[in-house]
Symmetry: C2
Subunit: 211 residues, 2 copies
């Protein structure tokens, strides 16, 4: 199940077409999530909205994958982790993070600029500490991974310097060193005035990928 | 902003009425999120569903809070963290966790049985490691907190023993010791066959709550 080398045979044009169909849907559901949390309309308006939502769900469920999205692969070997809880372009609960590798596409670093709104709240007006941990797990893991092999988190430690406000944020990570199948990385989340949360972690190369 | 002692003056009947209006809406949006990730319907059906979703969003946005839900309080002092990313009954991205304190309502422990589906995926068929960290942050924090004062995470370390399958899961946590304003807790997530992820953390009592 975790053999990421499986190829679904989609061409680049297939992938682009699928993205054009489903990404706007995901964006609309993200807006709906935000509206659902913040709305103050009365019960009759809620009921009307709920009826439309239930109708949309029934349409979408007319044909669907079992259980979860998994990962599909294009013919060029690019992975499509579109259901992923942090970066999935088909997962409305993902911010989603768009992660840059680099600089110059080199391995060992990753960064992202992203926006967290009402859906990511913990303390009033601030990011849930667990959400920061979730994002750092992914960004550090991306820095520690190489094409075709996403290393899995062994242990991560997250330190909270201060509360992170909801809004525009930045995350970045880099490998510090490697030791056999273990890769060590550090990173942080920052708002406009500096670092709010920092993390260090060790990532493990899956056994199937050790050749 | 973090003064949790503010009371919004809602009676128990008000709270029950609001819950009856908004909780079913949240449940419908959770179903829609799952359908959005798993759907394989064609572009014309996606477009029809998207139109209904956009209409529902417009209805809900006719009256809404600024920015985020925050925390409201009932007249009995009970908090309503309904927008919370882990436990929020009005947040469709929350599983949501229903956390039991105890045993016998005593402080110092917390546990929850919950279900994680397609929206929480990382490795195919498995929970995103960051999602496990997010949940443990909250459950340990709940064990470390007392009524009216939710302690904030200082540092959390999460160790992944093996991948956590999507599906029915259990989390629990307990305080190990306290040291002044610091409270230490440990906990884990388990599937049907045992512990998959464990965590330890230190929580800090907010300055405003130190009396």
């Amino acid at each position: 199940m975790l053999d990421y080398t499986h190829v679904d045979g989609l061409t680049a044009a297939d992938v682009a077409r699928l993205r054009a169909v489903y990404e706007p849907l995901t964006g609309s559901v993200r807006e709906l999530i935000d509206a659902t949390i913040r709305t103050e309309v009365d019960a009759d308006v809620v009921a009307a909205a709920k009826a439309e939502i239930d109708s949309a769900t029934a349409r979408l469920r007319a044909a669907q994958k079992d259980l979860s999205f998994g990962i599909q692969f294009g013919a060029d070997g690019d992975s499509m982790p579109w259901g992923n809880a942090v970066i999935g372009v088909r997962n409305p609960t993902a911010p989603p993070l768009v992660i840059r590798k680099g600089p110059h596409g080199q391995e060992g670093t990753a960064s992202s600029d992203f926006y967290l709104g009402a859906a990511f709240e913990g303390p009033p007006g601030h990011v849930h500490g667990g959400v920061s941990a979730k994002i750092l797990d992914h960004v550090l893991g991306d820095a520690a991974s190489k094409p075709g092999v996403h290393r899995l988190t062994g242990t991560i430690t997250v330190r909270y310097r201060r509360l992170t406000p909801l809004g525009r944020l930045h995350a970045e990570a880099r490998i510090t060193h490697t030791d056999g199948f273990k890769t060590y990385a550090v990173g942080h989340i920052a708002d406009g005035t500096g670092v709010t949360v920092e993390a260090e972690a060790v990532f493990i190369e899956p056994k199937w990928a050790r050749s």
